[in-house]
Symmetry: C2
Subunit: 263 residues, 2 copies
């Protein structure tokens, strides 16, 4: 039996495109083979919807899902938010942890997305933090829902690889109490990344705070951090975009920590 857009299970799953329903159900949607594969490896998939041809093409994924539901092309289009979902959409269990739980594992690198409302930017920070080896990514304050469809897609699977935390905005004290130095990124810092590297400060366990491209970090967060850090601009650009700035900072830490551990 192939489900249609009106089948109750499809109707219920489709509601997860809305934040309120995601929050209430503790579930969310992941679409496309790459995200579904990461979700399966993380044990997060509750039900896999797919067109018969996609389930056939990705038989190794379907074999690992606890429940597989074939759907019509119309039902898949209703479940998916992109034009080309490649035939697969999974209902997944939300698995974010508390800040205390994430910090108890003593991560040496943490990224904090503070009040970042653009889901593409937030997902990219998640992906970049994961690539740089961060143990946790904190969505602090009035940030986008990490389970927003566009955030899930931009994270390219990384949502399932690192500890994701949703927390109120004041996180700096907790981060510091967990042995992390707290570095706030800003265009007008009292120091810059080159100086931190020269002074060998980046080998320490570090939490990087990133604000939105439009508004930067809230003043109170900036003031609470150990340093306010500029990424140096060597040319005529006024600034870097968020993804680029996060990549430069997180990779600078990753390399400094690695060199220290080999010393």
């Amino acid at each position: 039996m192939t489900f249609t857009p009106r089948t109750p299970r499809v109707v219920a799953a489709r509601r997860l495109q809305r934040r309120r329903d995601r929050d209430r159900a503790g579930r969310f949607l992941a679409e496309g083979p790459q995200a579904v594969r990461s979700a399966l490896l993380a044990g997060a998939v509750l039900e896999l919807f797919g067109t018969p041809s996609a389930l056939d093409r990705h038989a190794e994924l379907a074999a690992r899902a606890p429940q597989v539901s074939p759907v019509t092309d119309e039902a898949l289009a209703a479940l998916a938010e992109t034009v080309q979902p490649q035939g697969l959409v999974a209902v997944c269990a939300q698995a974010d942890v508390s800040l205390a739980e994430a910090l108890a594992k003593r991560p040496r690198l943490v990224a904090v997305a503070a009040e970042i409302r653009d889901p593409g930017n937030a997902g990219t920070v998640l992906r970049t933090a994961d690539a740089a080896g961060a143990g946790a990514v904190v969505f602090a304050g009035d940030a986008v829902d990490p389970y927003n469809g566009k955030c899930v897609r931009s994270s390219a699977g990384s949502l399932f690889h690192v500890d994701v935390v949703r927390a109120p905005l004041p996180v700096v004290d907790d981060l510091r109490a967990a042995g992390l130095q707290v570095l706030a990124t800003t265009g007008h810092g009292d120091t810059d990344l080159d100086r931190l590297l020269d002074d060998r400060l980046l080998a320490r366990p570090t939490a990087w705070l990133f604000g939105s491209e439009a508004h930067g970090l809230p003043e109170a967060v900036m003031a609470a951090a150990d340093h306010r850090v500029r990424v140096p601009i060597y040319g005529g650009a006024e600034s870097l975009n968020l993804a680029a700035a996060a990549a430069v900072c997180l990779y600078a830490s990753a390399r400094a920590q690695r060199q220290e551990s080999l010393r």
Copy 2:
């Protein structure tokens, strides 16, 4: 007199939203105060269109434009490609240079966007390369038009700060002849960025080649480069997005070159 969407000068300017017309006229559009300011500083503005209130609000920009044309809200909406252009659109002269001309200045850092068709990604590479101090950005092969509206916007003014080059795909020999080592970015490199840094290879004058996120670099370009370089992935992510990878590579070079020059 305030121009309407049917005023011939507005109609002619609006055609610049199409590549064919941009190529023919050697002109393009830049919208919003930030891009207009950079264009004015670069001497690229031919005519500034603005709503009366925007021209009033940005009187210091209007004062520097060689020709200022007030337009109705409707005419501005027709000229602009974004929903919130903030009242200003400038017709600018294209100013890309040949590869030979750019290399004659002996830049120590060059970014090559090879067959990158996404205008947002190409513009971000331009912005990031400018921030890292690159002297030139080469759009090679079947890449997006650097004067595409979305590319101009993503570049955040950097289109006007660095030498922009449009060239056929085989650029590696010319880059090397200009004294640059040529590094191709790929997920499957024979070396990685950490090793290049450890071996102090990044202090040399360098051209970085970036391919599209979907397809990577063309085989022939990859083979012609001096090294095929991975950005190390320390966590579970499969890869970085293009903006993040470009930022990590270009900033690694910028720092290594700077350290060398201070030695």
